[in-house]
């Protein structure tokens, strides 16, 4: 009995030792600034001249801030479309390039290139591709008789345009995460399945996908966090417009904190956003049944 306890205590001690560097850095460079930001959310901090305690004023103000709730709605709509598509597409691409055929390395590199392309180049070309009159997308659509909309300029389609561009830019990275994960699926599982008469689709569905659950949890969590914190592309492509349909919470927080110097209020908004992200991540955890063993 005591031997087992001793073993367990030894294991625990080693574990704490292993995580010490990470936790130390985490406490100093993450926990402390977050705590400070939390404190600031209860003040009227304007970076330059004041930091007076105002209690719940900021939180009361954001409750009635219709623009903030509009941005939440925008970004939720975005996430609901973006996250599932991202997972499906990158998983599919990962399967596609998980072979040793000729030219596969070239394809992998091409699929990863969007992640490397600078935001300016991506925005410039995609804005052209989506141009209502001269763009390729509407040109292709006209071949099947559809008059395409002004993707980026019309309120109905602006968010879809952002989904398109952000998907384009991120599936490559998730593809190689899945690719890495696919290397860890034991071959013998496929062998026995084939002997049992399973076809390719069955194998993907009953072996590959479940085996990759930890990877999917990683990809989906990061996708949710990234989606709800969307800023860069909304800024570069549409500047939050038209009519604020692509304005995101982080964009608003940036505006409030750095343009208007209302950093206390911006901090309060940030924490509300963090709460929302937390809730969605928890939902995601349930839905993907992510951690039946450890967590």
């Amino acid at each position: 009995m005591s031997t087992i306890n001793k073993l367990e205590r030894h294991q625990a001690r080693t574990a704490y030792l292993f995580i010490t560097p990470t936790m130390l850095l985490f406490i100093v460079f993450t926990i402390i600034p977050v705590a400070m930001a939390l404190y600031l959310s209860f003040t009227n901090y304007d970076v330059l001249s004041r930091m007076d305690w105002v209690g719940l004023d900021n939180y009361r103000r954001l409750w009635g801030d219709s623009l903030l709730w509009l941005t939440f709605r925008n970004v939720l709509l975005y996430a609901v479309i973006f996250v599932p598509l991202n997972i499906v597409l990158s998983f599919g691409l990962g399967l596609l390039v998980n072979r040793v055929w000729r030219g596969i390395k070239l394809f992998r590199t091409f699929y990863y290139l969007p992640t490397l392309t600078s935001a300016v180049a991506a925005a410039t070309v995609w804005l052209w591709l989506l141009h209502p009159e001269f763009g390729l997308v509407n040109g292709l659509l006209s071949y099947i008789g559809i008059t395409g909309p002004a993707w980026v300029a019309q309120t109905e389609t602006a968010m879809l345009a952002i989904v398109l561009v952000t998907l384009w830019q991120s599936v490559g990275a998730n593809m190689i995460i899945y690719l890495a994960g696919l290397q860890g699926v034991p071959d013998h599982l496929y062998e026995s399945a084939r002997l049992d008469g399973a076809n390719r689709w069955d194998m993907v569905r009953y072996i590959t996908w479940p085996q990759l659950r930890p990877t999917t949890f990683l990809v989906s969590t990061m996708a949710i966090i990234g989606a709800l914190q969307l800023f860069d592309q909304a800024f570069v492509l549409t500047q939050g417009g038209p009519a604020n349909v692509t304005k995101t919470p982080v964009y608003l927080i940036y505006q409030q904190g750095f343009n208007q110097l209302q950093m206390g209020y911006a901090s309060a908004q940030a924490f509300v956003l963090a709460m929302a992200i937390l809730i969605f991540s928890l939902i995601n955890m349930r839905v993907t049944k992510a951690e039946e063993s450890v967590i």
Binding site: V47, E133, F134, T147, Q260
Partner: protein, 436 residues
């Protein structure tokens, strides 16, 4: 193979570590901050070192450094150093926490109303009277933009105002004169627009920037804000602007939304001959000359409104002295050398091809004799700055422009647009007003 990897990795890591450790010369003090020294003038022979922050890099950096070098060579008591800060505002804000304020700051004038109340800029009224700098040598509007609570905080570096750019060939071919009134503008735009069935091939006039509403409103005789900081466009002047826009967009169909996006910087429809006329400023002159080898363009002041009012929005940069500077007198000397002296203002103008803020320089033949500057000089005479409310820009961006965009896309009536803009705008103005 593994050994080779290990050695390679090891070497790279060691090199990086050494670089990392030796790079620890630290010294936020000498570069980003101020050097120790008595306030006001140096004792002994050592020149006072000043830091000058700006966010212009590349060619813009060369332009600044030309001026800095000329100043340093003109005397030996003060040495200025230009330090590029790519995101200058963020850097300035973090320097408030980390210490290390610059001595001179390249400044977007409209920020003054937000920053000055926080006491981070140094007022220069006394220095101005002491040195006999004349207010009349600057556009009163530009000085107003640098003023808060009757205190002046800097001097204008450049001035600009929007004018009407037009494609000369297109207008000549259609037998038109450059428009001087709203009516003429509408007629010209309609004549120059070319549709090919459902596709727009040439747009007569650009309607891509609803932010120009303030300019149109003033041309219609209105004002954006009231004296006591409330919106002032939900009235007949505002309606006049919106009906004019409606006529252009929906009746005459001179434009299609999204037409200029995706053609690069939103202005290249003009360079490539797809857009006949639009409002923009003198900053585009060098771009048009660089990228538009076949573009023959002309400029006229903005057309007058229905009652003959002329208006344009004046913008531009200035130089200010942060309150945290330890050498304010020397900083002031640099600023006046650059901005209150005709020869140096001309050096700046010729180097950067910007309109200098110093009026006597604008009378120089370099500007007076050059036809491309004339329309801007004329416009500057009646151009007005944006209202000096700290919440003005966010009111436009979040209250007014989204509603205008809905109007232009035919999703909201003119009355609703103005009413909603007023409610949302007033709220934003209130949330962002100066807190005493």
């Amino acid at each position: 193979m593994k050994k080779k990897w290990m050695t390679l990795t090891g070497t790279i890591l060691t090199a990086a570590m050494i670089a990392g450790c030796s790079g620890n010369s630290g010294g936020g003090a000498s570069e980003g901050g101020t050097s120790p020294g008595a306030d006001g003038g140096s004792s002994g022979g050592k020149p006072v070192e000043l830091t000058f922050w700006g966010d212009w890099g590349g060619e813009g950096q060369v332009q600044f450094e030309t001026m800095v070098k000329a100043f340093n060579e003109s005397q030996d008591r003060i040495r200025v150093k230009y330090v590029l800060q790519q995101d200058m505002i963020t850097k300035f804000l973090t320097s408030a926490t980390s210490g290390g304020s610059p001595d001179i700051l390249f400044w977007d004038r409209w920020r003054t109303s937000l920053y000055a109340p926080k006491n981070v800029l140094h007022p220069i009224d006394e220095l101005m009277t002491r040195d006999g700098i004349e207010r009349d040598n600057y556009f009163e509007e530009s000085l107003k933009e640098l003023t808060y609570d009757d205190k002046l905080y800097g001097l204008p570096l450049t001035v600009d105002a929007r004018a009407l750019f037009y494609n000369k060939k297109m207008l000549e071919d259609a037998g038109l004169e450059p428009p001087a009134t709203w009516e003429e503008l509408a007629e010209a735009a309609k004549a120059l627009t070319k549709w090919n069935g459902d596709r727009l091939e040439v747009a007569g006039f650009s309607m891509s920037d609803p932010g120009l509403f303030s300019m149109y409103l003033q041309q219609a005789g209105g004002q954006m804000l009231t004296e006591d900081g409330k919106t002032n466009f939900n009235n007949e002047q505002g309606l006049a602007v919106l009906s004019f826009w409606d006529r252009l967009m929906n009746q005459d169909k001179v434009y299609r939304i999204g037409f200029e996006q995706g053609l690069g910087e939103g202005t290249d429809a003009f360079v490539t001959g797809r857009l006949a006329m639009h409002f923009t400023g003198p900053w585009m002159l060098s771009t048009y000359q660089k990228y538009g080898s076949e573009l023959d363009f002309g400029v006229v002041p903005p057309p007058a409104g229905p009652n003959g009012d002329r208006a344009s929005v004046m913008g531009g940069f200035g130089l200010v002295i942060p309150e945290g500077s330890k050498h304010k007198d020397e900083a002031w000397e640099f600023i006046t050398w650059w901005l209150a002296n005709k020869d140096n203002a001309m050096l700046w103008a010729k180097t950067s091809l910007n309109l200098p803020g110093y009026k006597p320089a604008l009378e120089d033949p370099f500007f007076a004799d050059d036809p491309q500057w004339q329309p801007f000089l004329e416009t500057l005479e009646f151009a007005k700055i944006r209202p000096r409310h700290p919440g003005y820009s966010v009111m436009e961006v979040d209250g007014l422009i989204p509603n205008l965009e809905l109007f232009i896309q035919n999703k909201q009536s003119a009355e609703d647009t103005l009413a909603k803009s007023q409610t949302q705008g007033d709220k934003l103005l209130k949330d962002n007003e100066v807190v005493k």
